[in-house]
């Protein structure tokens, strides 16, 4: 065992692979938050007055709100006046051609293994790259435009499609929704916007890579996806973040709207810096993601693989308004070392014969604490609603924790709700069995963990599933010795 332990310790002490800082001239707002800063953000983005007003309303509401404390996570107080709420690369490149993108930024993307030109040529993935709050490159736009699909940065959407943004912004996550979403509504810097017209099946996976780069700059992304009647879109979101000593706040909002017979698949691989082995540093990830199945027989699927962040607080949910609409949530959350995750979903059944499925896989290692928190709500009018929930926890070692908080609110007697839960431990016997067949301890753990997560990985697009498996093994390095 001792050799294996040493190998694993070496692996664990390896530095966070994506921890590097790109030197790009920054254009930042002063530290702290007040109405002037919000005016500045809005002015920098040349926003219409209605949007500035919306931001200010959010800000004034936020001032009256208290940071929530019900989550099963512990962290020191966040000083919101120390945060820089806006920063952008000064040389704002033209989006028309990749050649015009700042070479420094492109090198960063290459280090991350996402050379845009290659993706453009080979993978058929259109990438809207968000780099420090401003989009620097957008590909495949023309091809998508032929189909009437709009896929651009949020700021561009505000300029070019203000009527769409105005129609849907805040309709799923209102500006007063919760402390972090309200903060985001006041200060969001950029994000992505996608609009799929009636009857169009988006021919490629849409994807965005987020990356925190500027020192002490909170990230406040805002994403809005609207799928018109009978349309289909699959959206991928993946992130890595460079190493930091100070904690960084990340409070994103994602809103999805699916009209009659529309389908939205939203997949996330989250790998923000988790902090070091002593629990120092790491990203605080407080995210509000919600989809509205507005139309009949519409469907929204959330799939998330959460391996990073010091603290994860997110509950991607579905509001099932349309009759026969379907909501799904597939999640893998891992916590190693001192990471804490409080994550789950909310399925709100309003329409008739609405269906939801929840599959949650929590993996805890080291001193990690992993909480599943999920709400299934069946409203009075939701006749024939059905929910199936499955929450499994896997423990590695004996100092970590797994917690499950399922909430059920059922107001209609025709509802059928099932909940299954299990907790298991990776056994010494399982590891020995693999080693006796020639596999290293590390490979054995990876194999056992991917087997455990299989139902969720199956929901991810192929190339993402491969990446997710890799991330999982990196995030669990050093967990068995």
């Amino acid at each position: 065992m001792s050799t294996a332990t040493q190998t694993i310790e070496q692996l664990a002490s390896r530095e966070y692979k994506y921890g590097f800082v790109t030197d790009v001239e920054q254009d930042s707002a002063p530290r702290g938050l007040n109405e002037d800063v919000i005016q500045l953000i809005s002015a920098k983005k040349q926003e219409p007055t209605w949007l500035l007003d919306w931001r200010l309303k959010a800000y004034r509401t936020w001032l009256t709100m208290k940071e929530p404390t019900w989550g099963n996570v512990k962290y020191g107080p966040i000083d919101y006046q120390r945060i820089i709420y806006y920063s952008a690369p000064r040389k704002r490149p033209a989006v028309a051609s990749l050649d015009e993108v700042d070479p420094e930024i492109r090198r960063t993307f290459e280090k991350l293994g996402i050379p845009l030109e290659e993706q453009k040529l080979l993978s058929g993935v259109a990438v809207d790259a968000v780099f420090d709050s401003v989009s620097v490159a957008t590909t495949f736009k023309e091809k998508l435009a032929e189909l009437g699909i709009i896929f651009c940065s949020f700021s561009e959407a505000v300029q070019n499609h203000p009527e769409l943004v105005r129609q849907y912004l805040g309709t799923v996550v209102p500006y007063s929704d919760n402390f972090f979403a309200t903060l985001n509504s006041a200060v969001f810097s950029d994000g992505s916007f996608a609009y799929i017209p009636k009857g169009v099946r988006c021919p490629m996976e849409l994807s965005t890579y987020f990356r925190i780069n500027a020192r002490e700059t909170g990230q406040f992304e805002r994403t809005l996806i609207v799928a018109e009647e009978g349309s289909y879109v699959s959206y991928l979101e993946g992130c890595t973040a460079p190493m930091r000593d100070e904690n960084q706040l990340h409070a994103a909002v994602v809103e999805l709207v699916a009209l009659d017979n529309a389908t939205i698949k939203y997949s996330t691989v989250q790998n923000w810096y988790p902090g070091d082995r002593e629990g120092k540093g790491g990203i605080y990830n407080f995210v509000t993601k919600r989809g509205k199945c507005l139309g009949a027989s519409s469907k929204i699927t959330w799939t998330q693989v959460e391996t990073g962040s010091a603290i994860t607080w997110k509950y991607p949910g579905c509001v099932l308004m349309g009759d026969n609409s379907v909501g799904e949530f597939y999640s893998v959350a891992t916590t190693n070392n001192w990471q804490q995750a409080d994550t789950g979903t909310k399925m709100i059944h309003l329409g008739k014969n609405t269906k939801s499925t929840i599959v949650s896989k929590g993996i805890s290692a080291g001193h990690g604490q992993n909480t599943y928190r999920g709400l299934v709500k069946i409203a009075k009018g939701a006749r024939g609603a059905r929910n199936y929930s499955q929450c499994d926890s896997l423990l590695i070692g004996d100092q970590c924790g797994a917690h499950t908080f399922p909430y059920l609110e059922i107001k209609n007697s025709t509802a059928r709700v099932e909940h299954e839960a299990s907790t298991s431990k990776i056994g010494e016997d399982q590891i020995f069995y693999c080693r006796q067949r020639g596999l290293s301890t590390e490979d054995a753990v990876n194999m056992i963990v991917s087997g455990f997560c299989k139902e969720v990985f199956r929901q991810l697009p192929m190339e993402f599933a491969v990446e997710a498996r890799k991330l999982l093994s990196v995030s669990l390095e050093g967990s068995v010795g």
Binding site: C434, R435, G438, G451
Partner: protein, 252 residues
Amino acid sequence: MLKVTNLHAAVGGHEILRGINLSIDAGEVHAIMGPNGSGKSTLARALAGHPEYQVSEGEALFEGENLFAMDPESRARAGVFMAFQYPVEIPGVHNAYFLKAALNAVRAHRGQEELDAVEFMALVHDRMKQLGIDESLLNRPVNEGFSGGEKKRNEIFQMAVLEPRLAILDETDSGLDIDALKIVAHGVNAMRRPDRAFLLVTHYQRLLNYVVPDVVHVLADGRIVRSGGKELALELEERGYGWLEAGASVGS
């Protein structure tokens, strides 16, 4: 091929093996028999490197290499295979995927190229046919929901794919019906080769009706109290272990 000298081993601080001496040449089949608690399985697991079994004294040379200085995966890659008495379930991991990873780890150690999916499947189908094992086994998660017999057959199947130099079967025959027992025996017989050795740990003589051993050892109270040819197994079947155990305690 394997030379064990004065092996002492303990589980949870409790000494089980008290000086085992054993020598197995390439091409031979040795059977280890003995009553419950005599240390048969401890011997198998100590040789395979199970972390709960501590070797306190003695050595085991495998092809001249000190086995106890190697971690379990290195022993496996060097060609030591153990068929488990209680094969472990690994939910969600396909048998084929698991076996391919294992085979490629072994092949990498031998300096052979990794097999791709097509080559691997060809090999696997060949072995399944040879052993008369149902192909549905491949697409099921490792041992999950397998019957006792299926688990043991799966062990033999893995052995056939991994092609070890030394195969240790830890009571693989226990709890099997006669058909499953024949499949296990057939697997061992089909794999006998001049450069491969087998160590069969068994409580009952019946496996030895189908696999004829070169040497039979009787273990009692952590020591080998008698070694002989295949006729020794028959004698045990007739007389039980009592007469040998009595001898062992007198000797100690």
